[in-house]
Symmetry: none
Subunit: 192 residues, 4 copies
Amino acid sequence: MQPTQRLNAVPRTHAHAGVGGLAPNTLAEEAGVSNGTVYNYFRSREEVLEAVGLELAVQLSEQILTVSEAVESGAERLSIAVRTFMNKARTDPDWTRALITVVRYAEGMRSTLATYLRADLQAGRRQGDFHYAHEEMAMSMVISATLGAMNLLVEEGEVEHADRIAAEMVLQALGVPPGEAKRIAGLPLPGE
Amino acid sequence: MQPTQRLNAVPRTHAHAGVGGLAPNTLAEEAGVSNGTVYNYFRSREEVLEAVGLELAVQLSEQILTVSEAVESGAERLSIAVRTFMNKARTDPDWTRALITVVRYAEGMRSTLATYLRADLQAGRRQGDFHYAHEEMAMSMVISATLGAMNLLVEEGEVEHADRIAAEMVLQALGVPPGEAKRIAGLPLPGE
Amino acid sequence: MQPTQRLNAVPRTHAHAGVGGLAPNTLAEEAGVSNGTVYNYFRSREEVLEAVGLELAVQLSEQILTVSEAVESGAERLSIAVRTFMNKARTDPDWTRALITVVRYAEGMRSTLATYLRADLQAGRRQGDFHYAHEEMAMSMVISATLGAMNLLVEEGEVEHADRIAAEMVLQALGVPPGEAKRIAGLPLPGE
Amino acid sequence: MQPTQRLNAVPRTHAHAGVGGLAPNTLAEEAGVSNGTVYNYFRSREEVLEAVGLELAVQLSEQILTVSEAVESGAERLSIAVRTFMNKARTDPDWTRALITVVRYAEGMRSTLATYLRADLQAGRRQGDFHYAHEEMAMSMVISATLGAMNLLVEEGEVEHADRIAAEMVLQALGVPPGEAKRIAGLPLPGE
DNA sequence: CATGAATGAGACTTCATTCAT
DNA sequence: TATGAATGAAGTCTCATTCAT
C-alpha cells in the first residue's frame, strides 16, 4: 500500500452507507488493502478520517488554485472556487458524498478549506467587493451553503447552471450587489 | 407512551454524540419509557428519528408562525424565521445539536421546513424582494446556511447579533439589496 | 441470564487457552449466553474477570468457612484452607485452571482471599504458632505457594497426600516447628 | 539473536494470545532487529519466549553459581539463590517482570531452574537440613514462593530485608528449624 | 400495551505471522 | 539474510432490534 496515493481512492461504499461508510474496514476495502493494514499508517479511525478529509480538500483546492492562479479579485476567486466545487458535485457524486460525510468529522479538513477561503474573503473585502459583519459567520455561510448546494445536486439531480446560481447567491450573501454578482458568477471559468 | 407528545423531550444525551448519539435507547430514556416500548410505535431507528425531527421542526415552526402571524412581507417573515432559529441556537444548544444531527436523517423534517419556507420565498418573490434563479437551490441555501450558522454558534460560542448577521446574509443571498437587507434584518422581532 | 448464577459455570475453554480463555466471548459462550449479553452486566472485560474471580474465591471461601467454623486455632484454620484448595485442585482441574488464570488479573479476588487469610495469620500469630517477619510477605508466600502446588497437581498429575504436604510446608514456612506442622496438617478435616 | 532452526510451514494466527511487552515486535526491537528477522530464527512466538526464558534463567543461574561456587551446604546454596533472585527483583524490576511473564510459558526455563534447584535440595537433604516429603512439591513451592515474593516486591514496592525474609520462609518450609533458618538466611552473601 | 434482558451483526483495534523485495 | 509492509483472525465493545413475560 502506498497510503497517501491509494487513499485518494474515494470511498465509494459510502454511496449507500449511513454510519458504516467511513468504517476503517470499509475504507481499507476501498483502498484495496486489508483491514489491519490501515493501522500501520493511522492510529485510529479518527486519524483515518482526518487524512481522508485532508486529502479530499487538498485535491480540489489544488485544482482551484491552478485555475484561479492569475485572478486578482477575491470575489472572482471565490466565485471560481464555489463553481469548481459545484461542478465537481455534478461530475463526481461519489467523491462529493464522501466529502460531505467526511467534513463532519475532519477538523483538519475544515481548517484547510478555511485557510484558502479566508484569503479570498479578505481580498474581496479589501477590494471593496465584500461587506460582511463577521468573518467567521461569513466563512461558515459560504462553506455550508456550498455544501448544501452540492448535496442538493447529488441527491436531487441536475440543475442547469447550478454552479453559477450557487456562486451568485454566495456572492450576494457577502454583500456583492445583485447585478455585479451575476456578472462575476457568469464569467467564463479560466481554462474553459 | 404517547409517542409524539413524549418525544418532545429533547435528546440531551446527544450533546456528546458522534455517530450513534440518537440511539433508540437514549431516546427512550429521554421520553421516560423503556427501550422496547419505542418499537411499539416505530418500526426502526429511522422512523424514530423521522418523528423526532418532525417534532423539532413543528415546535419551532409553530413558534415562528405565532410570531410572524401578522407579517405580510415574505422577506420579513423569512428574516424572523432565521433569527428565531439563531436565537434558539444561542439559548438551547442541546436542542440545536439534536436538530443538526436529526436533520441529516429526517427527510420528513426537511419537507416540513421546506413547506413553511417555500411559502415565504414565493411571497417575497411576488412582492419583488427576492430574485432567485432556482427555488430548490434557494431553499437549500437558506436551510444549510442557517444550520451552518447555528452550528457555528453552538460549537464556537457566542457572536454578537448573530441572528441579524445571519438573516442579513440570507436575505442578500436571495437578492435583497444590501441596505434593504440590513434594514429588514434589524427590525425588532414582533413580541419583543 | 442470571449472571451471578450462570457465571459460576467455570470457563472450561481455558483448559487450552492463554489469555484467550478469558475472552468475554468465550466466557459468554461458557455461560450459555451471547457475547453482547455480557455487557449488560459488566462494563468491560476487566469487570468480567473481576466478577469471575470474586465468584471463584467466594465459592471456595464459603466452603472453607463452613468447614473451619468451629476451629479456633489460626494455624489449624490455615491448614484447613490450604488443604481444601488442594483437594479442589485434585477433584476439579478445570475449576483450578480457571482460578489460576483469573487470579493474575482479578485484583478484587486477591483482596478477598487476602482478607480471609490475614485473619488466620493474625490469629496464629496471637496464639504463638506463627512467627513471620512481614505480614504481606507471609500472605504472598502462602498464596503463591498454594497456587503453585495446585498448579503442579493439575498439570503433572496426582500426588499422594498432596494436601497435607502442602499444608505442612506452608505452616513450617510461617514458623511452626516441623513436628507440630506435621501434626496440624495431619488432623482430619472437619466433617470428613 | 542466534540462529537455531529454519522456518517451516506453521499454523496461522493465534493473534491476541497477547502477552504485554513480550510481543515478537517488542522483542525484535529490543534485540535491535526488525520484526520479520525474528522468524528467521524461531518458528513461533512460543519458541521465542522459550529462548528468552532460557536466557533469563541462564543469566541469573550463572551469577548464582559464581557466588555459591565454594558453598557446600545445600541449605546455604538455596538461601543464596533465593536471596539473589530477590535482590534482582529489587534492583531490576523490568527484568523481573519479564521473568515472571515468561516463566508461565517457558517450559524449558522451568526445567533449567529445576535442575539447579534439585541439586541444592538433594544436597540439603543429604546433609540433614531439609526434610521434605515430596521433591516435586518442594521444588514447586520454592519456585512459586520465590516468584510470588519477587512479584510482591516489584508491584508493591520495597520491603526491608525482603531477601532474608523470603529465604528464611523457604528454608523453614523445607524443614529447617526456625532458629537455624534465620541464621542461614542472615549469612553475608559471598562476595559482598 | 409495556418491559427490559437478550441478541448478534458489525465497528474498532491488536498482533502473530507471512512474504516480496 | 534482513527487512518491514501487509495480512487477517480474533478480541473488545456498541447498539438497533426482538421477544418472552
